[in-house]
Symmetry: C2
Subunit: 234 residues, 2 copies
DNA sequence: AAAAGCGGTAAACAAGTGTTGACTGACATG
DNA sequence: CATGTCAGTCAACACTTGTTTACCGCTTTT
């Protein structure tokens, strides 16, 4: 049915539904991908405010992309399919973030704490995508929720692998490594959600959130240093 | 038609058979409170599934309460006011639980960990309420989000006060106590959200979540034991 | 017993919704 | 050049939505 297109990278500023950057060859399929992206951006723009995806109407999104509602169906069978495209688009941003965080080399106390800043900066720079994820994490349809959950679990798993190469964590069992990674991800996710609920220009509140999260991360690592998996009998 | 308990009351105080207020006298204001509650319950029932509050329609809720849409306005000025009533109702059960958790006496390592179970049990027993809170925490309108945030912050503050009476935490500054309390609340909130996304009969998955959260809480307390606020330059 | 208060119904309103069908015109292919 | 493909418009369909108006009947009060 729908062959995978060229990986249309997520655009950054979905301010208006029709700004798209790609190599313009003016062709027909190029034009189609162009308005497809306009639809995604229009949805993200609407979602950046208070609206939730389930409250978005098909006509509204089409309007934001300067398209008639009937033309919407040339790209998606309905809103649900648009939702999937939004997930794909947003997770591309999430994966980029994960790649960025792991690029620092072997894990170390300093690097882990630095990652907090990298994550939160990335979230702040891609508000629309992460705002969508944060909202739909618990509020969306089941398929969307499980997709998001899968990605978070994957993220935790990768972090656990990274942590296993951290010599100071020798006393951790495999399960406890997952537990630790989950705790760390929790800290970052919670801080991300605070960042999303803070106006970007309120630098003071943002640095307060950053410092808060970094402290929490440090405390968690302190606890990890004192942990002994052999004592973890339920 | 999903009826909650036999009693329409949101939460009956642990008092014994002594009924002090709201005895069914069939009077007019009693009848009014009765349908008001029917509206709240109808909304909660709709919210218990995949729906989000913002996607709920006034007529839909009225229909669920077997009421004409016009009669809805006899109780609430609109959906937003219903939202506030839902928050009030939901946090009433939360406060009830917090009272229960603090009644155990002075905080101790054992009690803190036991509180995890108490809390998660409570969440599981009041799915509709906490499902609403979890969904609207990031997805709702600003006023609702702010209201929820205020309650959570209040909760963190109370926990920080309790922790300050914990002799082992002498090295914590006031700010760091908030940080620690925030971290602990994060652990419980994250676990709660997992509980809400798990079918109640899947006991195995639930106990896994419980154990996970308890471990995380223990690790946090381990970290707190090694914390030194004087080192928190930042 | 009469009057007032008030929770409820029924009907109507404009406005917005998802979806369909017929049509159009620029592009791609023969 | 001719032709078919197809992203797009336009109009109409049968809804559902929030809100207002008038009215009814039971409680409460006078």
């Amino acid at each position: 049915m729908r062959s995978r297109k060229r990986s249309d990278g997520p655009s950054q500023p979905p301010g208006d539904g029709e700004t798209v950057e790609a190599e313009p060859d003016g062709g027909r399929d190029w034009r189609k991908r162009r308005t497809r992206r306009a639809l995604i951006n229009a949805a993200l723009a609407l979602l950046e405010g208070e609206r939730s995806f389930s409250s978005l109407s098909l006509r509204e999104v089409a309007r934001g992309a300067r398209i008639t509602p009937a033309a919407f169906y040339r790209h998606f069978s309905g809103m649900e399919e648009l939702g999937h495209a939004l997930i794909e688009d947003s997770f591309e941003s999430l994966h980029e973030m994960m790649r960025k965080a792991r690029a620092g080399g072997l894990p170390s106390t300093r690097m882990i704490r630095a990652s907090v800043k990298v994550f939160l900066d990335h979230v702040g720079a891609h508000r629309a995508h992460f705002s969508f994820i944060a909202k739909e994490r618990f509020s969306g349809s089941t398929v969307i929720r499980v997709a998001i959950r899968k990605e978070v679990r994957l993220w935790v798993g990768e972090l656990a692998v990274d942590l296993s190469r951290f010599p100071a964590l020798g006393k951790f069992s495999a399960e406890d490594l997952q537990m630790l990674a989950g705790l760390m991800v929790n800290v970052v996710v919670a801080a991300s959600e605070l960042v999303l609920d803070t106006p970007p220009k309120d630098k003071e509140a943002l640095t307060r959130i950053y410092r808060h999260a970094e402290k929490q991360m440090r405390l968690v690592m302190l606890g990890a240093g004192a942990w002994d998996s052999s004592r973890s009998s339920g």
